[in-house]
Symmetry: C2
Subunit: 208 residues, 2 copies
């Protein structure tokens, strides 16, 4: 799960742990605030698996690892000043870059079906956030698999006879409605996606 998030973020550009944490908590903070206690072990796992590799980031004069000027890593000027003063500070800062193996792993994770588990929602939201990296057919498959999962859950919810007090009943009902809304939303997404596919490759309808 976390692996996928990291891989997805690193597809754009190399980043170091702190920045990854911020992006996962803020930008992708739709749901889910990742902790260092999971992030750094995840980075080590990915490194061990050969999916990412360290690039020596720091002082701006290292041409080997050109970090984008878009403030993602600050402090280069300061580091340069220190070096001029004869100090070697260089606080430990490692940036990670996606390898070919990492790209491959990203693709596998994006299309793998972990089955409806506990963090269903997180998992789907994450995949949706990186949906743009998938070919159109894979996008549709992702959306439709989610749709069928939710539909199954809904019919299960409808089937179970109500046991419990007022509060439990109300919660159950609210969640049922909520799932229905989710399905409607998914249907919209699917429709949009189908239109886009039809517009981009209309010959598919004629040849197949």
């Amino acid at each position: 799960m976390l692996e996928l998030a990291v891989l997805g973020l690193l597809k754009e550009q190399p980043l170091h742990g702190y920045e990854l944490k911020k992006r996962l908590s803020d930008a992708l903070g739709l749901l889910w605030g990742v902790s260092y206690g999971s992030l750094y072990p995840a980075l080590r796992r990915l490194e061990r698996a050969g999916a990412i590799e360290v690039v020596e980031a720091p002082p701006a004069d290292t041409p080997a690892a050109p970090m984008p000027a878009t403030g993602s890593i600050g402090g280069e000027a300061a580091a340069a000043r220190m070096r001029r003063l004869g100090k070697v500070s260089r606080r430990t800062r490692k940036a990670y870059r996606l390898t070919t193996r990492g790209e491959q792993m990203f693709g596998e994770l994006m299309t793998s079906d972990t089955g409806p588990g506990a963090d269903d929602e997180r998992s789907f939201a994450l995949k949706l956030a990186f949906c743009r990296y998938l070919p159109v057919d894979a996008r549709l498959e992702l959306l439709e698999r989610r749709r069928s999962d939710l539909a199954a859950r809904l019919s299960r919810a409808r089937g179970s006879r109500s046991g419990g007090d007022h509060y439990a009943l109300s919660l159950l009902e609210h969640r049922r409605k909520s799932t229905e809304r989710d399905l409607e939303w998914l249907d919209e997404l699917i429709a949009t996606e189908r239109e886009a596919r039809a517009a981009n490759s209309p010959q598919q309808g004629a040849t197949a």
Copy 2:
């Protein structure tokens, strides 16, 4: 989290692990299917903490632990038959009973504020499921705390300017609407609760 669920179920009657698992997965399975890998350690923790204690459940002729006839623990007839035949089978079956300390811990867990964390929703749903054991004021506090948490999340969601592609935007928007629905639902619950309180003790409005 799991502790609270176990404690809550044991308030009704003593149960053994397997039955607890079933009830947590089915009856309370609104969300959340607990695994043995968490349940048995949780039982051990609770036992260590003195919140629950083992009652020797099995063969129906043990008057010390009168299990309710409501099929929660089956197999007594079979066990009796075996005993008649001279066999001592007695497959290991331990039922757990809530202690006074356990009742106390339940109260603490129900009213404690873990703050908006990851399993926000689970936690609230769980507390709502056992809401009936709380005094009315505590119920209202529970509902209102949840309301303020959701309201905070909503305003945060509204505040963050949209960054991301079509999919991320759509997801964000959908989740925003979803939270709004949740708030409406909570408001209904709160209103109902207030009416109930007013009906049960109308003098409160006059004396205070």
